[in-house]
């Protein structure tokens, strides 16, 4: 089932290939300049910190819907073991097996390809079982700290939580931006709140996964126009699921990751941040969100923290 013409038209409009050179593997993260970071640091006026990661647990977010993407299996290799004798200092040590994208994570640019290519025209078959991602591995992102802006679409639309098949559109982003009272600008990391993660937090893992509100295929153009560095939200699928256009499975992923070269974040818990932003009447903050540097990973867990 080939991608529809509509997709290719959108792709043309948001494409960033070659913009930062033919060798570039960072995409829109290039937009986070020193000036952007200096400005981000200045947003810290109170000093409190809000964690945005969901705890990593064996009964976590994954339900088996995505085969092999397992929740963290956490086992012990030592429990109060005295390597140097039991009567002295003893240690406990653990091992984990998990999908790199099982919990709160960033998609690397190598996570998705279409028509045989990755971001910047790299061949898709540069990703292998043996070598993982030779280009655009998540380890290329050595730091990810910038200004974060919460676009609280659910709140802007007067809802606790967007309904299951709600496609967040550019109009929704405009409305949330207006409600936030802050202009999204180049190098920002935009956090789009749908409220969907409330389902997971309430114990409904299946309901959280599907159906899910999420970004419309028309939002990449909005992010491209603003030169956003990265976008994360509080859903499993990132984009609305089931998708809004026929034959358009994963179209937002392909536009963001392959065409624009913009990392996407999923399963972020934006509930406490939403409360804080509403209470304090401010929607911009310093965001620390560096992914774990797995060599050749197509994505990685992250423990993001908003500093207000």
């Amino acid at each position: 089932m080939p991608l529809p013409p509509e997709f290719h038209e959108l792709a043309r409009r948001v494409n960033n290939w070659g913009r930062w050179g033919t060798e570039d593997e960072l995409g829109t993260l290039n937009l986070i300049t020193k000036e952007v970071v200096r400005q981000a640091a200045r947003t810290v006026t109170d000093g409190h910190r809000i964690p945005l990661a969901v705890p990593l647990r064996q009964d976590g977010i994954q339900t088996g819907l995505i085969p092999g993407r397992v929740n963290p299996l956490h086992t012990m290799i030592a429990v109060n073991t005295g390597i140097f004798g039991p009567d002295t200092v003893v240690t406990s040590d653990d091992v984990v097996t998990m999908g790199l994208q099982a919990g709160t994570h960033w998609d690397g640019l190598s996570h998705v390809s279409h028509s045989g290519v990755l971001y910047n025209g790299r061949p898709a078959d540069s990703v292998t079982a043996h070598g993982r991602a030779a280009f655009c591995g998540i380890d290329r992102v050595r730091h990810l700290v910038s200004r974060g802006v919460l676009l609280d679409v659910a709140r802007a639309r007067g809802m606790d939580r967007l309904p299951g098949e709600y496609a967040v559109t550019p109009d929704d982003l405009d409305a949330a931006e207006e409600q936030a009272g802050v202009r999204v600008r180049s190098g920002d990391i935009v956090l789009v709140r749908t409220g969907q993660i409330q389902r997971y937090l309430a114990g409904d893992r299946e309901g959280y996964a599907f159906p899910s509100p999420g970004l419309s295929v028309r939002t990449p153009e909005w992010f491209h126009a603003r030169d956003v560095a990265a976008v994360a939200n509080d859903t499993l699928t990132f984009e609305v699921f089931p998708p809004e256009i026929e034959d358009g499975w994963m179209a937002v992923h392909a536009l963001d990751l392959v065409e624009m070269g913009m990392p996407q974040g999923q399963n972020w818990d934006l509930e406490a941040l939403s409360e804080a932003c509403a209470t304090e009447g401010r929607y911009a903050f310093l965001l620390c969100a560096t992914p774990e540097p797995f060599s050749g990973g197509t994505g990685a867990p992250v423990a993001p923290v908003a500093v207000l």
Copy 2:
């Protein structure tokens, strides 16, 4: 082999049990106040960011010295797989198995016990194979952002790298502080550079592991006097290894984690940071270093970033 009397005398002097209440599981991280974070944000004057994590690789830091603490085994569960047909958007996905303390990491307070107890007098047997750490799990640390201060002991002592069995003493910390021109204060995260990680970066994993320079059993008092929030360095063992006093295996771990309740970081790459600090003549910065929130983990990987 019981702990020597010397240990118990040191323990008495640095003990923080009850200081933040009988229920506390955070220890010295309580010292990171909003004011500390506001001040930390103000240290950002240039905006460049320096990553401090070592990339996570199968041929990484672990050599088998610590049984079971395996380097990341990174495997693929999908390579350009078209869940929705091969001609459309396809995805790659990965799974990893690793010791939580295999790479750049924080020790949680539950990592170590002695005499049957953890920090704040919690029973050591609250750590189990089945439930992991019931108290003081690394997931209690939901955010870890503060002012970082580099104490570049190697540079202060005029060496590229401290020799293998060098015990970093309070005098060394004083010298590095003077060289840095910054006073360590309450809530700071102190990064102690020995230069030892150069061995790993040069491919000598065995030489990196052992023998290793590291912190002396007399340093916990120094950190306690300054009310430091956490300490990390660029070694596998954190403390000098082999240890400086007989029967004193892991004594620094026990003093820091059990008595003081102060998290320790290991395998941090401080080389680029050392260069930058020396060049710019500044040793304080904003440090983003939140561990991955593994529920009940006795430690966790972290991707720390210094923002200057």
Copy 3:
């Protein structure tokens, strides 16, 4: 909740501690003598082979009921990779993470303890996270080949499948033995068919797990009287579940493994074997069922085959 007096009385009657010496770690497997094996080989009259293992799959038997005992997660580390160049011979290679008792398996004698002891009075704390089972590890069983006898209780009772809470009693074993027309004798491996695994094979994993028919707390005496070497069945829980006597959780496990020193097998698919035995009117055969030799394992997967 201490074990009821009833348990202790049964335990006294089936206890084998010291029977094969104070150092013994094999228990009733000692009963498989050369003569037993010679006789077992003579049961092969036709030469066809019936596999008794359930295929190992990620969507396999485990449902999450037993935390951490994960189904096999099977991932690739190489897919047609040319270590020596892509144009020559290429290889594929795989890695698995699984609970050792996730599929068709043997419980080792170290799997269970009560009152602080394992089989033969060994201390329960000889099992550790760091060292696994120091005594009675499954790797002590270097070979497991003997005469197998199918006791087809479901068929003997005229049922396709025993109902969910059916406790298989000594009377049931007698009836199945009579129906089989073969006398169980010393060194035999007895396979007790309940038909419960039909639920799993039909896709009902939850119904397979619970409620489950299984062996009554009164059967260990029967096995002890006959000097059976090992017993396996076609359920997840082995014993009837929920248990038949209050406060008697896992009582059959404790009697078989701890008191008698008799290995137990679970999740064996006895359906095809049942058909073959009924058709051919014979219920004894050569059984090859050596567990994978995991050092210090408390159990291990097995791929049993009946040769008729």
Copy 4:
């Protein structure tokens, strides 16, 4: 580097494609008929059993030479845990992560391809990271019991152990057969002893891996002429390594697995069997060697047992 003409000539001579139908996925295992198994059972005259598997341990056979093929990492998910309260029966439970071909194992027919095809002309790209082996997975082998014949080449050549680069030739097989006093026939599983595993058993893992004696590229014709069902030996590489002909990397694998459709076994410990066969003057026995049925596995661990 294309395969040399020599290879293609050998391939033509041993090719079995279509011999058991175009849909066949079992290859030479089809040769194990009921009559073969009946005869195999009759070789049991004494009743003792000799295990041929190397124990599965974290410090096992793999040295890192084959990236990702990890030794078993064995961790605990429960240690004497009372799911139903600590005072009653408690259980221990374990999890393992391992390469399916890390220890004593069978290569499945899907392990190797050349020129884009697997055995029987199946497309090589039917093996994927997502689905593993769609054809010729190791789970197709539901039972593997036959007559085993030990060809003790080291003993026949008057050596304890063949030297490192010794290529076992058809002449060597003839000599060992003559020394054994048994004629290899259709459906047999042939075990070729080089003695190389002594190096591993003595603790020299590197020396075991390389250089290694092993089968010559001329042996597949010998096995083909005799209609052998499967061949295993006591080396890591199976074939002589480094290879005997230039550009012939893995040529024996390609001839056996792809052309003939004959499974190969590696890392089998044949030392005790060699002693027993020499002492008793007999080299044929019943061999139970069913691989663990991993769905879509390209290989699997096995715990083979010879019954004499």
